[in-house]
């Protein structure tokens, strides 16, 4: 294969992986705190709608990205009030959040369907970005991509190297013990949920501001669910989430290129389903490989009611 085409394929893999990575890192931190938020898809799509609307109105990518994050956080705050404040069932609340988010996004984005704006600008470093084969791949992305990588490193550092990260992991392992030691279980969980909401919103904003720079209802197309699967796939470790995101990004890209090339005798519908099939296969392989799920935070999904 021509090196330039290969570079293009790898380049699109990275862009396809970025929204998955950002959303997965957010959810990973939430789950490490012992909360299962199945509303990632809903927060993502609201982030996409609000991000595009704000970006279009202000003509600023940065304002759009921040608005997307704020929208994701607002939705996650609702979730936090339900599951942390009222100790409701996390699965049901998360599913409701996704349905709610899909509806709200349609409303927020109603006036913006069919509009277009310029995609986020890409990094350009004279000399470096022109390097053959690797120049564009390493030095030619938009800031979301570098932000996602930075986020991964920051999440890893926070979880393994800081006291607050240790506290968060302890709360996710055993909230009863954490409470009896006087650790602020609910405060940490609310903050983690808000962080997860901001990440999901940012991932959504990336879709409507950079990946496909327009808004269309339902444009997240299940990426929130793939991000959730990625968290399990990564065994709750940030760097593995990056590897997983590239794998899923690869599956997405492969089907696009395969369809474009047209030489395959495989139905297009099957190719479109490829990322989701990879998700299911990855989960099956993981559960066979690690039958007892030793790496899941032990308090994941369990509601916490302090005993007083």
């Amino acid at each position: 294969m021509n090196p330039d085409i290969l570079q293009l394929v790898l380049f699109t893999i990275v862009t396809a992986a970025t929204p998955l990575l950002i959303a997965a890192i957010g959810e990973l931190v939430v789950e490490r705190a012992g909360v299962l938020n199945l509303g990632v898809e809903g927060m993502m799509i609201v982030g996409a709608a609000v991000g595009f609307a704000a970006g279009y109105a202000s003509n600023s990518i940065l304002v759009g990205a921040l608005a997307g994050m704020a929208a994701g956080m607002a939705l996650s705050l609702l979730f936090a009030l339900l599951v942390v404040g009222l100790a409701t069932n996390q699965v049901a609340s998360g599913l409701a959040l996704t349905i709610f988010g899909l509806g709200v996004s349609g409303l927020a984005g109603a006036g913006f369907v069919g509009l277009k704006r310029e995609a986020a600008s890409h990094l350009f470093i004279p000399g470096l970005s022109d390097l053959p084969f690797v120049g564009k791949l390493i030095f030619g992305h938009d800031f979301f991509v570098y932000g996602g990588l930075g986020l991964t490193a920051a999440a890893w550092w926070f979880l393994t190297r800081t006291r607050a990260g240790l506290t968060l992991r302890a709360i996710g392992d055993n909230h009863v013990s954490a409470h009896s030691l006087g650790l602020p279980v609910r405060r940490y969980r609310v903050l983690a949920i808000l962080f997860g909401g901001a990440c999901a919103g940012l991932a959504g904003a990336y879709l409507s501001l950079a990946y496909t720079p327009f808004w269309t209802p339902g444009m997240t197309a299940g990426r929130g669910w793939i991000a959730l699967a990625l968290v399990v796939f990564s065994s709750w470790r940030p760097w593995r989430a990056l590897a997983g995101a590239l794998l899923f990004g690869g599956a997405t890209t492969l089907q696009l290129h395969a369809q474009a090339a047209g030489g395959f005798r495989v139905p297009a519908q099957f190719m479109s389903a490829l990322p989701y099939i990879v998700t299911i296969l990855a989960l099956i392989v993981l559960s066979v490989w690690d039958r007892r799920g030793t790496t899941a935070p032990a308090a994941l999904g369990k509601p916490f009611v302090p005993d007083r």
């Binding site: 302890a170 392992d173 055993n174 030691l181 007892r292």
Partner: protein, 506 residues
């Protein structure tokens, strides 16, 4: 710290370190602590004695800032204080070693300890501090091991180290030996002796009277939330202390009937099995035989494969081969629970709420749950409600189960009464084989005596009984033979229980 200082007088030598006056704690209508007065002096080892549910844990939780008293006052070195958070208590110098460890299984020893240190503590100094503590008190600690891989004794050492790093003046120990082997307990006492020698006050909660007699200078006895007495435990006999705790004499169980020489009714051969739990213990080559008329006790420290053994014998986890488990001469390793119940076996798991009984189901529905196949309580897909109620009533009458209402949900019964109900439900079927895990865990002395007597009576009628328990005294009391389970393997040689020894002595 929210400790309000109203008296600025320096603590006199004879002021107690901490005093509680008129402490009342209510949970809704239930009074857990009723006007409790308690003084703890500097450097003394004070025992808090009482049955389960006497209010000991509630009281110390208030001393540690986990609960707030509904009424009453706490003074520390002569100053009135209010403890609203564990941080307040720790800042004053109160340390606590919990009965149920507040540890994090998936974190390392060092991480578990780091969590309770002040935030500004440097991670680099931590290893050194841990080494210093283990040296000074003779407690071996491995900082980088994950907690799930440690024994109960090692886990407790983390709790104690965590507590000592804060240099406490008062150390509260809530049932510290309940999870330890005798050897581990002996090591703990050595550590506690050196704490005493340093002048720290210890508040020692236990219902094991021999330990209290060995360790403590004074004892306060609680019953049903009230202080019923104070004494010097070294001058009392275990029997007089027990009578104070329970409020009446506890009847001794009597074994009578045929000797243990019936046919082999429950047999396991080469039973090996992985655990279903995340950090569980695999069974390794377990072999056992229980004859009709015999009670086999399985002793061992918690978490050595007891729940896995129970699951394997009851059919909750199926064996790899049919020939690994036999009931009354028929192989049943691949059969499930219901199939084994149809072979006239019965099973009582350890956890009564949620395993032995469905908490929100009525008592009669709970009877149907375990007897649907064997008791004629379900006909043509319908529950025979009248028969189920009659069966529940029979259990209630036979075992003196105290309940409120006609057919209340299982969760409304107290621990002891629900345990009598779930044991009674199985024993009244008159099974040929009974496997019971922790028959009297967390049950008051009267109910425990009832349950033990019922188990012995069942064996006397010719049934084979296997009792898994961590209470050695209980096993000595009711077993003909005792085997020990350790790390998933059952000791081949069985010790003789006291029951047998006593009988041959007369």
């Amino acid at each position: 710290m929210t400790a309000a200082t109203t008296l600025a007088t320096p603590p006199a030598e004879n002021t107690p370190l901490v005093s509680l006056r008129g402490i009342v704690k209510r949970f809704g209508d239930f009074v857990a602590n009723d006007r409790i007065d308690l003084d703890i002096r500097r450097g003394e080892t004070h025992a808090l004695l009482g049955e389960n549910g006497a209010g000991k844990s509630t009281l110390v939780k208030m001393l540690y800032g986990l609960l707030e008293p509904s009424e009453g006052a706490i003074t520390w070195e002569g100053r009135p204080i209010r403890l609203t958070r564990p941080d307040d208590a720790r800042a004053l110098g109160v340390g606590m070693v919990f009965q149920h460890f507040s540890l994090f299984d998936n974190l390392t020893v060092a991480e578990n300890i780091e969590l309770v240190l002040p935030k500004e503590a440097r991670r680099a100094d931590l290893a050194q501090k841990i080494a210093a503590i283990s040296q000074r008190y003779g407690m071996a600690l491995e900082p980088d091991r994950p907690v799930w891989s440690l024994s109960a004794g090692e886990r407790q050492r983390i709790e104690i180290a965590r507590c000592l790093l804060q240099d406490p003046k008062l150390v509260i120990l809530d049932e510290p030996t309940s999870v330890l082997t005798p050897q581990e307990a002996e090591k703990l006492f050595v550590t506690l002796d050196s704490l005493k020698a340093e002048g720290r006050a210890l508040l020692y909660i236990s219902h094991r009277l021999e330990e209290v007699k060995r360790l403590c200078d004074r004892a306060t006895i609680l019953r049903r939330g009230k202080v019923v007495g104070a004494c010097d435990p070294r001058r009392e006999s275990a029997r007089s202390l027990a009578a104070l705790m329970v409020g009446q004499e506890v009847a001794e169980v009597k074994a009578e009937g045929q000797a243990a020489n019936g046919p082999e009714r429950l047999v396991a051969k080469n039973l090996s099995m992985r655990s279903r739990e995340t950090h569980g213990v695999a069974l390794r080559d377990v072999a056992l035989t229980v004859r009709g008329g015999e009670v086999l006790g399985v002793a061992g420290v918690a978490g050595n494969g007891q729940s896995e053994l129970f699951a394997a014998l009851s059919g909750e986890t199926r064996a790899d081969a049919d020939e690994e488990v036999w009931i009354d001469g028929r192989p049943c390793g691949l059969s499930g629970v219901t199939a084994r119940r149809l072979m006239n076996a019965s099973f009582v798991p350890e956890e009564r709420n949620g395993h032995a009984a469905a908490p929100d189901f009525s008592l009669s529905d709970n009877v149907v749950l375990s007897r649907h196949a064997t008791g004629g309580l379900a006909k043509g897909g319908f529950i025979a409600a009248g028969a189920a109620r009659a069966a529940a009533q029979r259990i209630v009458d036979t075992f003196d189960v105290r309940k409120s209402g006609d057919d209340p949900p299982a969760r409304t019964l107290s621990g002891g009464n629900l345990q009598k109900f779930v044991v009674g439900r199985e024993i009244l079927r008159d099974p040929g084989v009974l496997v019971v895990n922790q028959p009297t865990w967390g049950v008051d002395a009267m109910a425990a005596a009832t349950i033990r007597q019922a188990i012995l009576d069942l064996a006397a009628r010719g049934a084979a009984v296997l009792v898994i328990s961590q209470d050695l005294d209980e096993l000595f009391e009711i077993s003909d033979r005792i085997a020990v389970i350790h790390d998933g393997a059952l000791s081949a040689r069985s010790t003789r229980g006291r029951r047998h020894a006593r009988k041959s002595a007369c």
